[in-house]
Symmetry: none
């Protein structure tokens, strides 16, 4: 029996149902924010399942939780797979959790099929990917990869003023897994993360498996335009410095400039603040955010230059400035891992397509450490970060089948 054959669709679906009770909301979603009692309950549930299968568990000092299925070669670097178990405040049942449960299903399938591997295979639940309670997100994987400093993260506070260090200590005390001393992070052979797509492409194209080639780069800006407040009834147009008229000129030009024929660039104005915000006062100030994403950093750089040119050309008579608040370059995944995902999907007879990831994931940090890849499965209407997030048992199982095959191949290389 192959690893894929040993994947049990019902078991994987039931595990999602069990986890969805921990922080479950009346509308069918979950509120299981990082290092909350609900997050601790999910960790305990995973550790309990691991103990039943006699898989060892341990955590590191940022709270990343590992489940270990040993390999034949005690000295070989492990193959890692997982995602996160924390959710948005009004999150869904699959975002993150699927990647953890698919990895755990892969361990169980290898066990059930009696498949031995050279390398250990580990399932991992990274701490605080969502970043909705403690900033920044993807924290556990970033600390593991040495991108963020552990002690700095300890000092982060939630909106109630709770220190991350204290919330973490409470979570780890409650959990049965032993905590490894020292800085998080250890050498890893490779990493594969399964995730719902969180977008509509697989569903639209009627494909089951997304072979994720990269995580697109993202840049975020705040554009601030200073006008002059004036009376809407008495001030002639020629005498106005209307901050919102300028903002509209800039926004309209940017929407036009970012309308690429292949619909790859993601351009979003998500937050707009106009002040004083009175219907009969010419706006004295307008502030808006721009979120731009693309797999090619050069395209992002070109559109940043376009933004600068448009603001320079269109803001007058209002002074305007652009602040770039984040610049995360694209992550290209490892060709070997990408190839394995594609090959295994094909040999399992699953429809598939190559695609970049629109969203950020823990994999973007782990890709700095070792060969990394991702597997996407469809989610209903592409809706995520929403309590109505949904996926089918068959698609989740299909992704787990590809995952176990890829992990086995990596663990024996």
């Amino acid at each position: 029996m192959s690893g894929a054959d040993a994947v049990k669709e019902d078991r994987l679906w039931q595990r999602h149902a069990d986890m969805a009770k921990l922080g479950g909301t009346p509308r069918g979603g979950v509120n299981r924010q990082a290092l909350s009692p609900e997050d601790a309950a999910a960790r305990n549930q995973l550790a309990e399942w691991a103990q039943k299968r006699r898989f060892a568990t341990f955590a590191d000092r940022i709270g990343n939780l590992f489940v270990v299925r040993s390999g034949k070669d005690a000295g070989a670097l492990p193959v890692l797979s997982g995602s996160h178990m924390d959710s948005q405040p009004t999150g869904g049942r699959f975002d993150g959790m699927y990647g953890v449960l698919a990895a755990f299903e892969a361990l169980e399938a290898l066990e059930d099929a009696g498949i031995e591997t050279k390398r250990p295979v580990m399932a991992v639940a990274w701490t605080n990917e969502e970043g909705s309670r403690f900033q920044p997100g993807a924290m556990g994987s970033a600390v593991f990869a040495g991108v963020y400093n552990l002690d700095e993260m300890f000092c982060q506070k939630d909106w109630k003023g709770v220190l991350l260090k204290d919330a973490l200590a409470e979570t780890l005390t409650a959990a049965p897994a032993p905590v490894r001393d020292g800085a998080p992070g250890f050498p890893v052979d490779s990493y594969v993360e399964a995730h719902i797509e969180q977008g509509p492409r697989l569903e639209t194209e009627r494909k089951t498996i997304g072979v994720v080639t990269a995580i697109q780069g993202s840049r975020r800006y705040i554009v601030t335009i200073d006008g002059e407040e004036a009376h809407a009834g008495t001030t002639p147009r020629a005498a106005r410095k209307d901050a919102y008229a300028a903002a509209t000129r800039i926004a309209a030009a940017m929407y036009a400039a970012t309308t690429d024929p292949d619909d790859t660039l993601r351009f979003t104005i998500g937050r707009v603040e106009v002040s004083p915000g009175s219907p009969n006062t010419v706006p004295g100030k307008a502030v808006f955010t721009i979120d731009m994403r693309h797999p090619d950093n050069a395209v992002l750089a070109a559109h940043e230059a376009t933004l600068e040119a448009i603001v320079a050309a269109k803001a007058a008579p209002c002074p305007a400035r652009i602040e770039r608040v984040t610049n995360v370059p694209p992550t290209d995944f490892d060709p070997t891992v990408i190839g394995l995902v594609r090959d295994k999907a094909r040999s399992l007879g699953l429809s598939h397509m190559d695609m970049p990831s629109g969203a950020g994931h823990d994999a973007m940090h782990i890709a700095k450490l070792c060969p990394t890849g991702m597997i996407f499965v469809p989610c209903e209407r592409g809706i995520s970060h929403n309590e109505i997030e949904n996926a089918t048992p068959a698609d989740l199982a299909a992704g787990a089948k590809v995952l176990v095959e890829v992990l086995e191949a990596l663990a024996n290389r």
Copy 2:
């Protein structure tokens, strides 16, 4: 001593300074929105000054506050003068408040000069002229004139969901003036409102007194666009229903359509709300206000049709709707009152000019009830609805002198 001779420039200026403390902002303006605690404080201040002068005070059920100086003929209809004490969120110290304090100064001047009049002369502070917290503006005078229905106004909500009825009850409970039962509104002989110009013409033409002949028409709209929240990183443009992208298309087209060659049409988008307001979420909803004004009602009607056509053409794929919240046709003032203002300015040796008002004022509603006119005084650089709004003590006193002479003439006719 004439009424004009009894006007005290220092007293009038000091009253402005005292009122400016109520809702005063660090930048020297005021935030005294309708039916706020600051508005209540201003009402109490006016009532307290009235009591010191032994003028009776009362309010009506929409909160309009009246100060009464009795006349000799108990059966004669009163002459009214006033404006409003509420301000924009970042408003100035003179808009509205000047008209109330000039009327109160006129009452004091008549008293100080020992001048008896046939008719009662009343100062009035109309409720919620600005309409920045509760829509529509000029509410108190409109209810007084029977233009708006009292019970409908009670149901208006501010942007936080507070009912006007509740805010009004709190304001009236705090105020010392008794509240008259029954529908607001009573017969009035005539009405004169003093106001800063809120535009640059008097300053440019070096005139002290504006003899206001008319108020241009104004229409206000709320445009609501429904989109669909989606992940900014994963959702292709073709799959988006981006409410703010649609709002920008509509706004850009309207700015273009309202760019008239003679710069007479006033077009303002003053309030913009985009939700959920997260930088990495495609906006699910956008709401913005439009304020349009022109002396010719037919021009306003034509631009309303243009707005409808643009929303119909540009909103897709988002459903959108336009709500017209106010439609105030142009107002022509009474020739007798206009003539009195012009004559009194001339006989006081004050430079003056005839002019229409660019802004709407409570006078536009009261003009439906009785002969009405307005007196403008200059404000610095024409800037209003702004914390730096400014006027000179001498100009304010000059306007009050014209006012008291006009009121005396009307009160004895």
